[in-house]
Subunit: 189 residues, 4 copies
DNA sequence: AATGAATGAGTGTTCATTCAT
DNA sequence: AATGAATGAACACTCATTCAT
């Protein structure tokens, strides 16, 4: 009995994680306001109303999506941060990782950088997650020595901005750009 | 007759510029979608419908606001760019100016960085204005020598991101931060 | 003094008749609701607000336009009706005249047939004018003998409907069709 | 499962047909522009927004209503047209039927004769339906021999105009008038 | 006489949300 | 669990109308 309940619960959790991933995509593509629950649901072969069986409101779904994405990215970054090698190398690889998140995996992560949320409380939560994310960079930058809080934020700004001007059809691949950018950002710190 | 017509037209133009400045504020604060014409009008002691005497649609008002703000900032930057002195100094002062635009005059300029516009055409126009703005930096950076296109965009990203984390109630004034940031960004190029 | 006042008044009256003619066109083209005062004014090289110097409301302008058009058409028809010749011939020529009004001069006259007016009182007035117009046909039809009230309305219905299906680019000219229709309608009575 | 789905779908279809009938009434009474979705909804004990669960726009609801009404009337007429008896008799009964549609069932059918639609495409669709309707008359008129295309349109014009002047409180019942009119229209052809 | 400015009322449309099934 | 149905709130937009100039 307990086992089957556990299986059901696990299945539900899996389903929710998928929902959050899809939701993150739509939020990232359209912005919070223009992302409609009906569209998110459609990409999941559901109807908008059904989402309310999993999340009490659009804000909650959004928050779950952001938390999900942040946790995933932060985990990936922490792995890099705690790997072997000199701090400078690890910082460089953090930049590369983050750049690739922006350039390739952007849809599931961008909500972190969404602005103009309707609710200040929601905004505060997102900023908190944003700080968790930035902390990884700050820690490794601190090890390097020259790394200041300001420097870290400057680098993160550069990285967040990548998708505004990067042209995937250009001569540079996402990977090449990521490497190049990482090198340059090291000069910042 | 002609003179009085000119005066009326000038008054109208002035009023429009005020409208655009206020509109830019609201767009920057709320984002395109959540910025309601009624709110923009309220800050001008008008009603939403009255705005239609000046702009045929919300999109047009938005675009006018962005063009207005961009023109103003670009003019300010061009003045700096074409002043006397070594290119490095001028580039540094460009960074300071842009940082102050972000940190102090942000409300009237931020729409340039707005994403998630409802219409691709609108988006394209904004990107075009964005390029005009970036061009100033690129030109002076080119004079410096080390300045690449990518480096310029990285710097602009850092600057655009300032307002996400700068705390005006902290120990650094906007001016101090601007100077500090400008110094650091020079290392990027 | 009186003379100059009279001249001014006459000029004003002329201007109003032009306004009414243009208004009738727009009302006929767009229907009462979709005909905007601004469009009517634009065709007169004026602004919408200026119309209020001549008519206290849209309804009044509409009514004046319809009265104008009706008076003109009725006058034209009365001339035909009171001309020499056998009643049948005159009735036939009445049909031709009315058909041509519909097919050629339609824009200035059609408001008579406009339905869906916003106000019952307005509608009643239009119907009254409509009856004045029908009376001409009825009187001559009565002379013919076989002409009943119903027959007259059937004929007027046929004529009013012409513009729904007549194709000016077809093989029949408006004049030819008018003649043909007049012949056929005589069989009705 | 399939059966219950079918039942749900059928119920929805029924509801839609009711909506279209009511919509046709309001459109006929008020004209396209003045017919507000809120009023149509009110007559169905709904709110305007709810209509959007069934039709994507006012135009679509209008078109569905017209198609619905036309199909119904054309079906009724086709039955008459394909019944036994000499063509003249059948044509006469077509006139009677159409007259009764105009005089009694008018609200659900009149949209066919609505003019001044806001969209040319919409207008074209309505005209197409109008032709389908006229075709029935033209076919039977052709069998009679004297029946021309023009004659048919003249008759239809007479019939469409009936409701402009018929007074239900007068001495003639709708049925009596229909019979009388049918007789007279035969003389047209 | 003409109009620029402003507005209130009305309307189509979207969408998050609720609820009965 | 899923959804069809319904809705209230919000919003862009239109337009007849008023009024000061």
């Amino acid at each position: 009995m307990t086992a089957s309940v556990g299986r059901v619960a696990r299945k539900r959790a899996e389903r929710q994680r998928l929902m959050e991933r899809v939701a993150a995509e739509v939020f990232a593509e359209r912005g919070y306001e223009r992302a409609s629950l009906e569209e998110i649901a459609a990409r999941l072969d559901m109807r908008g109303a059904s989402l309310y069986h999993y999340y009490p409101s659009k804000e909650d779904l959004f928050l779950a999506a952001v938390q999900n994405a942040t946790a995933e990215v932060v985990a990936r970054l922490r792995e890099v941060a705690s790997s072997d090698g000199p701090a400078v190398d690890r910082l460089r690889r953090l930049f590369v990782s983050q750049a690739l998140v922006e350039l390739r995996d952007y849809p599931s992560f961008a909500p972190l950088f969404l602005m103009h949320l309707p609710d200040p409380v929601l905004d505060a939560r997102v900023r908190e997650l944003s700080r968790e994310h930035a902390a990884v960079f700050r820690e490794v930058a601190a090890e390097v020595g020259g790394g200041s809080r300001i420097g870290t934020y400057l680098a993160l700004g550069s990285l967040a901005y990548l998708r505004r001007w990067y042209d995937p059809s250009g001569s540079l691949s996402a990977e090449e750009l990521a490497e190049h950018v990482a090198d340059q950002l090291l000069h910042l710190l």
